[in-house]
């Protein structure tokens, strides 16, 4: 684990009853680097980061594996220890800014309580810091905003405040769980460039979760594709677009419409994601795969294999079949 590694997650598993939500997921984030995690709803991406940071809500969830941050394993860590890490070492931004801020507290209270707890500063110093933070996230004329309540702000403004809350103590790691999904397109772009510029300034590592490869391409250097609670492909962001190897990743790319330009037929992926209570025995994508190699794919779980330059893929076709998979979706119509 290099000195620049902010968080190192190995073999993370989450079980809720019989449901296998997250299955042996590993990832690592360096300082100043952004890892994108992409997947459909229900692919286990939110659960992955919540479990990796110990912030999981479901009391019945069983989490195993390791998640190292500052030499401590966050999994199974006591609440009092986690309280020292949250806010100070890890900041969080969540999906829906409309519900992520406390409706009955002023922005000042919500912005100052983190720094007061972690930095041991006075209310007045925390207030000054809150003003600086609001300015840093691009909220004009922040002074009167401190006394405002969340319902008085627009969606984009709320998400800016959430970012200010998350970055209030200069964390080393920022977890962004679909932070732009609930926003309109122009606001999305603003939030993305805001996080990028703050990241350059503060040098934090970022884990950015999204179901939208377009968003991920705008923020991340590396990307993990999650399906059925497993990493099915992991590589540099350019590689994902130029050389996708897993049939699922290819399907995702083919399903994206492009503006302008003649385009190949738009493809949807038939079928639905696997039920975490009843995952296939072999490849998790088996049921929906257009190029499956019957018996082996059905019964044997493909290992996550490095095919060169750190490009990882979990598919027998991609690692042995070679050529045919490049055009896995050729000629399919739905």
């Amino acid at each position: 684990m290099s000195a620049n590694t902010v968080i190192d997650v190995q073999d993370l598993r989450v079980r809720v009853g019989a449901a296998r939500i997250v299955n042996d997921v590993s990832f690592k984030v360096e300082r100043g680097q952004t890892l994108g995690i992409v997947g459909e709803s229900g692919s286990g991406k939110s659960m992955t980061v919540l479990a990796a940071t110990g912030l999981i809500d479901a009391p019945s969830a069983k989490v195993s594996g390791t998640s190292m941050l500052d030499g401590q394993n966050l999994i199974g860590l006591r609440r009092s220890k986690l309280e020292k890490i949250y806010g100070e070492r890890i900041g969080f931004i969540f999906q829906d800014p409309a519900t992520s801020l406390n409706p009955v507290l002023t922005l000042e209270r919500q912005l100052t309580e983190g720094p007061e707890a972690h930095l041991g500063i006075t209310r007045r110093a925390a207030r000054r810091r809150a003003l600086d933070l609001l300015e840093a996230v691009g909220i004009p004329d922040p002074e009167p905003r401190l006394a405002a309540y969340p319902h008085q702000l627009s969606g984009g403004m709320k998400q800016r405040v959430m970012i200010a809350v998350a970055l209030a103590c200069d964390p080393a790691l920022l977890i962004a769980d679909e932070p732009t999904t609930a926003l309109d397109v122009t606001t999305q772009a603003q939030i993305i460039s805001l996080v990028r510029s703050l990241q350059e300034r503060l040098g934090m590592g970022v884990v950015w979760i999204s179901h939208d490869l377009g968003v991920i391409s705008g923020v991340a250097e590396e990307v993990s594709v999650l399906y059925g609670g497993q990493v099915v492909e992991h590589t540099a962001i350019t590689d994902i677009f130029n050389n996708p190897l897993h049939p699922y990743t290819q399907g995702l790319l083919r399903a994206r419409p492009y503006l302008g330009g003649a385009q190949e037929e738009l493809v949807t992926i038939p079928g639905s994601p696997p039920d975490p209570k009843n995952l296939p025995k072999g490849c998790v994508f088996y049921d929906r795969c257009p190029v499956r190699l019957d018996s082996r794919c059905e019964t044997e779980l493909p290992p996550l294999t490095d095919v060169g330059d750190g490009h990882l893929v979990r598919s027998f076709c991609a690692t042995s079949g070679g050529e045919n998979v490049r055009n896995a979706w050729e000629g399919t119509r739905v």
Binding site: G218, L252, S272
Partner: protein, 308 residues
Amino acid sequence: MTQPPVAEKPDRPPSSEEAPVASERTSAWRLVLANKVTLGGLVVLVVVVLAAIFGRWLAPYGINDVDVTNALAPPSAAHWFGTDELGRDVFSRVLVSARVSILVGLVSVSFALVAGVVVGLLAGFFGGKLDAIVMRCADVLFAFPVLLLALAIVAVLGPGLPTAMLAIGIVYTPIFARVVRASTLGVREEPFVKASVSIGASSGLILRRHILPNITGPIIVQTSLSLAFAILSEAALSFLGLGVQPPDPSWGRMLFDARGFLGTAWWMSVFPGLAIFLTVLAFNLVGDGLRDVLDPRHRTAIEARRVK
């Protein structure tokens, strides 16, 4: 930036409108029965209903068999729940009284159910002035504590079983009206209802085919909880001497009579009270179980307005 293609749900086979409702209901029943507490409540209810139906024949003694020589006898093999001040068998009277409680509950709640559903459905569906007037009327009725309103009605119409049933029915009508109206408002905004409106379906058809089947959950829950509170109301009225009139026995009336014998004959007050408590508890448990399955988010006004 493009919109998410990934979250796209695959096409489902087109399903008929009634099918999901029906299958939800069967699985709902299985879920309700799977809850042991709810099942316990149901068992108690079955016992109470059996007592209500067959009590007269099952009772070891006549309810008004006076035996003064054996008055105020403690529980024994001959008299399981002891005897009262006239030597009447408390067990027989408790058993037979189930009939009155269940009867009052059923009649008054049916009244409230029918009146409340009609009013709430129309108010919620058509909205506008009708809705405003109906809801103001409900607000006015809500301003009277339940038992006070029931007492006032009894004061006007005179005490007795029919009055008690009518009074309780009137008192619970606005509660049903509110629940049904709120549910109707919710369903009215659903896409499948809007779609029906857009293709010109008649209001009557929409109400019958779409709205009513989709608000049965809250109505069933409300009915079960209302039965509990209606039985409590009847007991309270009878305890005040304004419900069932002697010589007919009722649990509330027996408690009224037991007040003078608290120190001398505890069995006279313990057993009828226990009967009310268990019956009400059973309806509440079943109602809760149903709500957990059918209507998880709405514990309605009824609990807040329970009768004292």
